[in-house]
Structure formats: C-alpha cells, structure tokens
C-alpha cells in the first residue's frame, strides 16, 4: 500500500529552484533514504513532505498520503532535524516538551503523558529517565539531545518519521548508536521512515529504498541493494567509487570525483 | 543600490526618506532660500502668516521673518543633532568594542561607567556640561553625545561578545594579528548593524534635546534654532500662537521623519540579514 506519493514535485525559493520534477512512491512500513549533498534539495524534499516549507515558497506538483488524507504534523508525522537544539525549547523541561505532544495530539492527561514520556526516554537509552524529565535541554550532550528530540517526535505515536540528517552533527560513535536506535524503533513501531543523509553507507545500513538527488533533481531511485549493486546514474557510481572507509584500498592518492562524475586517482 | 530600494519598499521608509531629504535640502539651501541674516529685523513686528506675502509665515515680536528663521533653524537643528549622533555613536561603538573584545576588568570598568552615566538623565547631563562650558554649538554637540553614548556602547558590546568566539576571530589570532586590529578591523565591521540602526533614535533624541536647551536659553545665541523660536513665541502665546506652533510643527516633522527612516532601515536590514 502506498503511504506517500510524490508526483512532479518542484520547489522554488524566491524564484530559485531547489527541487525540480521529483516523483517518488513510499510504501507503508518501508524506509526511504534520501541521499544527496548540500544543494541537492534533499532537505527541501523532507520539509515539503512534512508541510514545513516557509510561507511564500513556490511549490509545484503534488504530495499525497493516500491512506491518510491530510496528515497532522506531530500526530501522524514525527520530525527530527540535524540540529536537536533547534527543535527543543530551551526554557521548558524535556518532560514537558515530550508529554505536551501526547497531550495535544492524543488527548492524554498530563500524568499519563509524563509516564509515557519516561518510558520513551528510557527506550532512547537516557539514564534515569524519570529524573531526566525534570531537566532542561542544555543539561544534555548533543547526542542525548538528539535522542530527546526523537522521543518528542514519537510521543504521539505517529505513523511516519521524517529525519533530516539526524546524525550528521554527531561524531561517528554517537552516530553509530543513533542509527542502531532508529533501526530498532522503526522495527518495533512499524514506522514508515524517510531519512535524509549525505552518507551512502548510512543509506545502505538504514534504508530499504534510496532516492539519489543532485542539484535539485532525482538521479535515480529504487530498492537500496539494487541501486548500490548496479547504479544506473554516473553520480551514484562516482559516490560509490570514491567512498572512504576502513576497507578502501589506499594508494598514494585517493580517488576524486571530477567533471561529469568521472572518478580518477590523480598522479602523485 | 538594492538596499536603498528595500528601504523605499517599506511604507515608513518611503515617507521618512522623502521628508528627511526635503528637510536636509532646505537646511543645505538655507543661504539661497532665505538670504541674509535671519536674526535681522525684516519688517513690521507680529505680522500674521499670509498677511503680507513678503513674509509668508509672518514676523515675530521684533519683526524678524519667521520663514527665514524656520529655514535657518532647520540647519542648526539638523547640524547639531547629526553631529551629536555621530559623536555619540563614535564614542559608544569604540567603548563597546574595547569592552566586549578585551573583556575582564576593562569590560567591568567601562560598563560600570556606562551604568553610572545612565543613572543620570541625558538631558540633565547635557545641561550640567553646558552650564559649565557655555552655550557654544560644539559643547552642545558634545553634551548631547555624552548623554547618549551608553546605549550604542551596550549594543555594540553584546554584538562583539557573540562574534568574539567565532572561528574567524580565532583564525585572526592564529595568523598573529594584534588584538586591537582584530577588534576594529575583523570584528567591529560585522557588529555595526544594530548600533547603526540606533542612529535614528539618537538623532531624534538629539533634535529634541537641542530644542529643549535652546528653549531654556542654553542654545548658541548666535544661531536661530527652533527651540529658541518657541521660547520667543511663548511670551506672546495668546496674541500670536503661530510663533510657537510653526517651529513646533518643524520639530514634530523632523523627529517623525527621522524615526520613520530609522524604522524603514531597520526593517530592510532585518530582511537583508535573513537573506545573507
């Protein structure tokens, strides 16, 4: 069953196109990795799906949720951003912020919502969750804040989670833990996931589908294994060929991406 | 260019800029618009406006031309106010930059000093200074500036404090730039916007302080000012209210146009910053 259908989506900020002619399907319960670099339009796509584009932005094409009608952000779709500081209110305790989501969107009592918030925080791996509820965002590290933001995003039991580079402000160790956490949560709750990343390995670890964006256009999309085994587009091939990990064969120089996505190793 | 257009796009900006441009033009062209000494007796005393077209706004108690005084008064008001604002911003920005950038006891000392100045009303401070030094245009400018430098100083300091921790400041230290050069060449130009947005408030306040000083007789006696015109008119307020009303309207329009220009600039700056 199609959960999300994006057709011919174009977005322009003040006459500058950020996204052009993007069409995608995402089935319920599947995980889509939106892969791209700065200027690829990947965050614009995530914001458009959440209905969070700034007023005055020109939008073409359509975004539809066939089974949902008009989803409510916070209730049906939860969102986490790259910078957790931006989505948490510094003057409220984290307990208030997480519980409020369930009170507003699910009509829970504050007491029930608080108990639920403590359980969620505990699941996020925040130590001593009940005491943590009374603390403020600045008392936590960046990685912890991102988990708290995730708890708030999931507090109303949404069907879909949109995560815009949820790990790129974190170091590799914390990022690794966060990816495992996301993976577990998506499984337990049967969430439909759309996450934005610039890291092709992360896309392969967490995604089932991948959409590769470059310069505001969709280069290719499909099941992540199929795309990575036999990439149709030169850009995807270039990303794969120049990837740096612990198994990359090292010469005197690393492979670079040149014009027209041609990958070559420069002379030393 | 596009920034000027942005200011003009705001309603306040358009009205303010046009009015202010008009006032400045009148002030600059005063010697040609109203040749001769505005303090000289030009005709019969207490002519009403429009009574004699040689004196369209009438004459005062001594028979001096009101229009001529109004035009020359604009010159004095704007000159004193703008000079005072420039001086206040200059002092304030320098103090704020030094305090914010050096921090420590220098910061403490300068900010306590600013607080001490702020506890005394600006007008009294100016009055006190002038009663000591005598009513010359330069001391009036200095007096107004001394009563108005604190807010630009605070705002600049706050901006400097937030910029001081940026990487580009660390980079300047790494290449070995001296602290004063870092403060004034690297940091300050990026911290000017809020303080400069204050210019309008300072100018408007300065216009009023100058007028009030003149009204109380502390103005430069060799220049016509709107404040002294109002004071002059006060003695014949019942018989010839226009003598006070006309310069009063001049004051209101000047302060209003300065304020609106400032609002327009501030709004345009905000939009501009968001874009940049």
């Amino acid at each position: 069953m199609t959960f999300l259908a994006v057709d011919g989506l174009g977005v322009a900020y003040r006459g500058v196109a950020a996204l052009a002619d993007v069409s995608l399907r995402l089935a319920a319960g599947r995980r889509l990795a939106v892969l791209g670099e700065s200027g690829s339009g990947k965050s614009t796509l995530a914001l458009a799906v959440c209905g969070l584009l700034r007023a005055g932005t020109a939008v073409f094409g359509s975004i539809a949720f066939p089974g949902l009608g008009a989803p409510v952000l916070g209730r049906d779709i939860g969102v986490v951003f790259q910078d957790p500081g931006g989505s948490l209110n510094p003057v409220l305790t984290i307990g208030e912020q997480i519980a409020e989501v369930a009170v507003v969107h699910r009509g829970r009592t504050w007491q029930a919502a608080r108990a639920e918030a403590a359980r969620l925080l505990d699941r996020m791996g925040i130590a001593d969750a009940t005491a943590a509820l009374r603390r403020h965002p600045h008392e936590f590290s960046g990685g912890q804040r991102q988990r708290i933001a995730l708890a708030a995003a999931l507090a109303a039991d949404p069907l879909m989670l949109v995560a815009d580079e949820p790990t790129s402000a974190l170091d590799t160790v914390v990022q690794h833990q966060m990816v495992e956490l996301l993976d577990g949560l998506v499984r337990e709750r049967g969430l439909t996931l759309l996450f934005v990343t610039h890291d092709i390995a992360l896309a392969s670890q967490l995604g089932e589908e991948v959409a590769v964006l470059f310069g505001g256009r969709l280069m290719e999309a499909g099941p992540v294994r199929a795309v990575l085994r036999a990439p149709a587009h030169a850009y995807t091939r270039a990303l794969l060929a120049s990837r740096l990990d612990l198994d990359t064969a090292l010469g005197r120089r690393l492979p670079e991406i040149g014009a027209d996505f041609v990958v070559s190793v420069p002379d030393a | 260019m596009s920034f000027a257009r942005r200011v003009m796009e705001t309603g306040e900006g358009r009205f303010g800029v046009v009015m202010l441009a008009l006032l400045v033009a009148v002030a600059l062209a005063a010697p040609w618009l109203a040749p001769g000494d505005p303090l000289a007796i030009a005709g019969e005393p207490l002519l009403r406006p429009l009574q004699d077209m040689a004196h369209p706004l009438g004459t005062d108690r001594l028979g001096r031309d009101v229009l001529s005084a109004l035009i020359h008064g604009a010159r004095t008001s704007l000159l004193v106010a703008v000079s005072a604002a420039v001086a206040a911003l200059g002092i304030g920005i320098t103090v704020g930059t030094v305090a914010g950038f050096l921090g420590g006891w220098v910061d403490e000392a300068l900010m306590r000093l600013a607080e001490a100045f702020q506890t005394v009303p600006a007008f009294l401070l100016t009055l006190a200074l002038i009663s000591v030094t005598g009513p010359r245009a330069e001391t009036i400018v200095l007096g107004i500036a001394i009563g108005a430098w604190m807010q630009p100083a605070r705002i600049t300091r706050a901006e400097i404090l937030s910029l001081r921790e940026r990487d580009f400041v660390a980079a300047a230290r790494v290449i070995g730039m001296r602290p004063l050069e870092i403060a004034f060449r690297e940091v300050l130009p990026n911290a000017l916007t809020p303080a400069v947005s204050l210019a309008a408030v300072v100018v408007a306040a300065a216009v009023l302080i100058e007028a009030a000083l003149s009204f109380l007789g502390f103005g430069d006696p060799n220049r016509v000012t709107w404040g002294s015109m109002i004071a002059e008119g006060r003695t014949v307020l019942r018989r010839a209210p226009y003598l006070s009303i006309i310069p009063g309207v001049g004051l209101v329009l000047t302060v209003l146009s300065v304020h609106l220009t400032g609002r327009g600039v501030a709004r345009a700056l905000r939009a501009w910053r968001v874009l940049a």
Partner: protein, 257 residues
C-alpha cells in the same frame, strides 16, 4: 631519535561546567615529528579539540608544557609569541565560519603576509594568486568573498591561508567533516600533496577513522582527556587495544550491499 617538532608533556585543562570541574585534558603527552602526520582520534568530548586549541594558544592550559621547535610556547606572552605564529598554523573544521564575512579572498590570503611583514604591499596580490594556484583554485576567486564560494573551495582557501607563511606545523581540526563527501577526497589529496612538497607536519584532529587511515602515519586515541592508545595507524587499526579505539573502529559506517 630526532627531536620532535612539537612535544606536549603532561598537558592539563579543566573547565567549570554547571559548578563542577571537568577535566578536558588530563595529562596528555604527544609528539609530532617534522614532516609527519599524527592523527588525534576520539569521540566528541574526548578533549582532542581542546588540545588543538591549547597547541595554537587559543585556549590557555592549566598545566604541562608545549615545546615547539625546542621552545616552550607556554612561557611566551603575546608579543614574544607573535614572531613564532607563522611557523605553526591551523585549519578550522567549518570553513563557513572561518573567514571574516566581509573580507575578500585576496585579503584573507595576504593578511598573514601583511601581519608579519613577509612581503611588500606591492607583492601581496601576486602572492595571493600564487597561493590560490597552489590549492588549485581559479585566480578569479581573489576578489570574491568567502560566502560566494562552495564549501570545498572555502576549505582550500583555509589551507592556502594556513600555508601562506610556510609553517612547519599545521593543526587540521576535522578538516573535511563539514564538507560534501564528493569533495572530501580531493581536499585530503591536496593536503597530502602539499605535505610532500613542503615537508610540513600535520596534527590531524578527527573522529572519522577512515580519514585517519587515509592520511596519517601515526595515531593517538583520546578518551576523557587522556591518550589511551597510540602507535602506527596500520598497527593500531589491526590490533586495537583500548575500548575507545574499538568503538571508533566499529562506528565507521560500512556499505551494506
């Protein structure tokens, strides 16, 4: 053993955080040899950036010594330190904040020469152009401002600025982590090439062991303000001893196909 270019002994630094004293550096020893690259790896909060800032004298340590070219850096005040500044430089993590937003690239690149009187005014532009060429950027960028450049171009300018004074040591603080993946390798290649050409030594701060492996000869792993493991990169990565090293190795994202 030849004398180290940079030698840090027993460096300590505490920060007061919510009333408590937290050790950011807890007795760190390390050495960087001339012309070599030492990577300082660790998770965020391990103290590696504090160490970098202490070496650059941007942060004052509480104790320990930092010897550079045999001289005790911590004993030098601002004026005495300034003549040494050209010899050790730094590239910052985020090239979008590392430049005065109002400065043109030409000014950015000639500032180090002007500050230290390394070239007469008439030569600044030519020297800036030569630096742009060295980092393979087009000469036309000289009159632009940094925000008009891409992230990769900005980081190349940052490298050019750091190398303008022909330093012996450059501290690289996460030099590619803020860059798009497609330009990272080119920037790393440039750093390696410049090292071969000029013999500059690098102290590379990074949490990404894939980057460390590609660039550095030696690695020191930090955790909670201490160095918990050190050695040749190939050796340490093949047989990690410390838990922190193993965690960092396990955290490098792997392609699952």
């Amino acid at each position: 053993m030849p004398e180290a270019l940079l030698e840090v002994v027993g460096l300590t630094k505490h920060f007061a955080r919510t009333g408590r004293r937290v050790a950011a550096l807890d007795g760190v020893d390390l050495q960087v040899a001339a012309g070599r690259t030492l990577a300082l790896a660790g998770a965020s909060g391990s103290g590696k950036s504090t160490l970098a800032r202490c070496v650059m004298r941007l942060t004052e340590p509480d104790g320990g010594t930092i010897r550079f070219e045999g001289r005790d850096l911590l004993a030098l005040g601002g004026g005495a330190l300034r003549p040494l500044r050209p010899r050790f430089q730094m590239v910052f993590q985020d090239p979008s904040t590392a430049f005065n937003p109002r400065a043109t690239i030409g000014r950015v690149l000639s500032d180090p020469l002007r500050v230290h009187g390394l070239a007469p005014r008439g030569e600044w532009r030519a020297r800036a152009l030569a630096l742009l060429d060295m980092v393979r950027l087009p000469a036309a960028l000289i009159d632009r401002r940094s925000h008009e450049l891409s992230g990769g171009q900005r980081q190349r300018v940052a490298i050019a600025r750091a190398l303008a004074t022909e330093p012996r040591l450059v501290v690289l603080d996460e030099p590619v982590s803020a860059l798009d993946v497609s330009v990272r390798n080119a920037v790393l290649n440039l750093l390696m090439e410049l090292q071969e050409r000029t013999g500059v030594a690098y102290l590379l701060i990074s949490h990404d062991l894939a980057v460390v492996r590609a660039v550095a000869g030696d690695v020191a792993v930090m955790e909670a303000g201490r160095i918990v493991e050190r050695g040749a990169v190939a050796e340490v990565f093949a047989r990690p001893q410390a838990a922190a090293t193993r965690a960092l190795l396990a955290a490098v994202p792997r392609l699952v196909v």
